[in-house]
Symmetry: C2
Subunit: 366 residues, 2 copies
């Protein structure tokens, strides 16, 4: 079992990573002050409910917790204000009070949604994350929670830190291969922005990771969470440093929007975006190997590095202009300077970005 | 011009109270770092827009601010998730970015709604309050913002502190007498929980206050804000001390819910609630004069101290059970021990509360 702490002053919290933690959840909940008197609400989705919900419910009930559960449809469309209204109705119905907690059992969608319920119900109650995907290692650090607006993703949200994160590696064993790779995309991103040796480790261990080897996976999640925790600890509210976590995301978000959510998984979209950022880095003088290594490690993790031919470049550019990372009309990009190191560039020429997006269609998929 | 600071560490902010501040808004905005590059969104309601919106818009535009405005229907029903969605669409359309600010021009409803837009848009942008009612002196301190759920008032919200509050006494001159009195209810509450001499001052100056005498009103708002600021500074997140601000609110909220929002104004409902709390205080040994003075000062301010006969006691009790101030099933009340002093009582007997609600129908309206 591995443990790390996200250092945020009086909002610091631990992340536990190990096998079989779901069946020991109650002891962790008790240790971290989750109330046994006030009801808890477990929020999960239709993919996870059948596999893991009963285990968590009976573990908690057996230890004297009062739990209620709600299952939302799997997928991004559940991250809506309408679903927030439904979940708040459920919380009221179950009598959740100021000392209650919301438990997110699932991936990033469930974490974002349940986290925003916890952030806004009664102006904020406790929140516990039980991630069931590799991708969720990313959203489990930093407290960013949100729902979508019909016009923009993640535009309505909050910063709301969990009390604890319980990462049971066993829940990852049922992930389909494509989602495994998509999850590894954010793991690799954490290496690319912060830790060259971890990028090398990811490349060497790509096969083990894709085969869900528990030891390798535990280490990768620990490292990924650690990098993110280090960044977030220094910049909780995304004023400056935290923005480096957006490597590949400016292009990535635009691809997701244009492809329609679903064609490209988030991790796939940012994989292509990170290749684009590496190419942009070369324009600022980064060595070509930054681009070749970036592309190679992503490809070994089973990720796309080439933009699907049918996606329209004009639409991608337009989607990027609406991206919330453009402060005061200026175009800002995170670009690598070396493997394990990035810089923020403002005043990036839109023409460069367009050329790179066009070139991404010509990449050779390895 | 009076000025006070709400002390909240790095979230501290000033409140300016004076005549004609709306016409000097830009200098205050500039002084407190509101961006002239990123667009601002002024949110106001249909009552205020005709009277004050143009003044604020042209004052800001004249100083180089980019402003857009949106007018919501006056009244509590605008505090909804549907309206949040509409306002976020407007913010996106107008290109608001992370450095933009939301400006609330209006009373408590506008402040709560606009504040929650500011709290949740892009996970939180800047917020400026320009209150136009006496009641809003209360919501302008402490950062409590929220919208309603069909099943419960203010249940979806956040703590989000403004950058500054600009209280132009001239905007209060058009308030109808009933709203003046309702606003004074929270002013008097701040005296009742904290400052005996201010309660005496309110009683002596009740006529001036009701006549909207600028000097008296400025002082009353300054004192009311100061008490609230003192409480909030010690307890931003409503863990303990801040709960004393709920004097009269447990009964008051139930009355509002049962009467249907509109029959009783918020200030009127809590006026009746404060009389009830004073009676409850007597059961805990407070002297009778606490009750008589409470009732007298409220009546002099033109407020009801008697429960309308037709409101059903069972329904009022039921509404109270859903009130969010009951943590872990225990009934909690704020009760006065003297004028200017209150205590939290937990384990308040429900039977006592019922008896007091019944007695409130027999009060003699002075």
């Amino acid at each position: 079992m591995r443990e790390l702490t996200v250092e945020l002053g009086d909002r610091s919290y631990p992340i536990y990573i190990g096998e079989g933690l779901l069946k020991e959840a109650s002891s962790y909940f008790i240790k971290h002050g989750i109330s046994q008197k006030s009801p808890l609400l477990i929020i999960t989705d239709s993919n996870i409910a059948d596999i893991h919900l009963k285990t968590l419910e009976s573990e908690l009930a057996g230890a004297g917790f009062k739990t209620a559960s709600v299952v939302v449809p799997a997928g991004e469309s559940s991250k809506s204000l309408a679903m927030l209204e439904t979940l708040v109705a459920k919380a009221l119905e179950e009598g959740l009070d100021r000392k209650s907690a919301i438990v997110a059992l699932g991936g990033g969608v469930v974490g974002d949604l349940a986290g925003f319920v916890a952030a806004s119900y009664m102006r904020g109650i406790k929140f516990v994350q039980v991630p069931t995907t590799i991708l969720a290692h990313d959203s489990s650090v930093g407290g960013k929670v949100a729902v979508n607006h019909p016009f923009a993703k993640n535009i309505i949200g909050a910063f709301h830190q969990p009390e604890l994160v319980l990462y049971d590696l066993n829940t990852l064993q049922t992930l389909p291969p494509r989602e495994v790779s998509a999850g590894l995309s954010e793991v690799i991103k954490h290496g690319l922005i912060w830790d060259e040796s971890f990028v090398a480790w990811c490349e060497e261990n790509a096969e083990k990771l894709r085969a869900l080897d528990a030891e390798a996976l535990g280490y990768a999640l620990y490292k990924g969470c650690s990098v993110k925790a280090a960044v977030v600890s220094k910049d909780e509210r995304e004023n400056d440093l935290r923005a480096i976590l957006n490597l590949g995301h400016t292009i990535g978000h635009a691809l997701e929007a244009v492809a329609g959510y679903g064609e490209l998984l988030h991790g796939e979209a940012i994989s292509i975006g990170m290749v684009g950022s590496a190419k942009l880095g070369m324009r600022y003088g980064a060595p070509e190997e930054v681009y070749t290594i970036t592309k190679r490690v992503l490809a070994k993790a089973g990720l796309p590095v080439r933009l699907p031919e049918h996606l329209d470049v004009d639409k991608i550019m337009e989607a990027m202009m609406h991206d919330k990372k453009f402060a005061e009309g200026t175009m800002v990009f995170v670009v690598p300077t070396a493997i394990g190191s990035v810089e923020m560039k403002s005043d990036v020429r839109i023409q460069w970005v367009r050329e790179i997006v066009e070139q991404l269609k010509q990449e050779v998929q390895q």
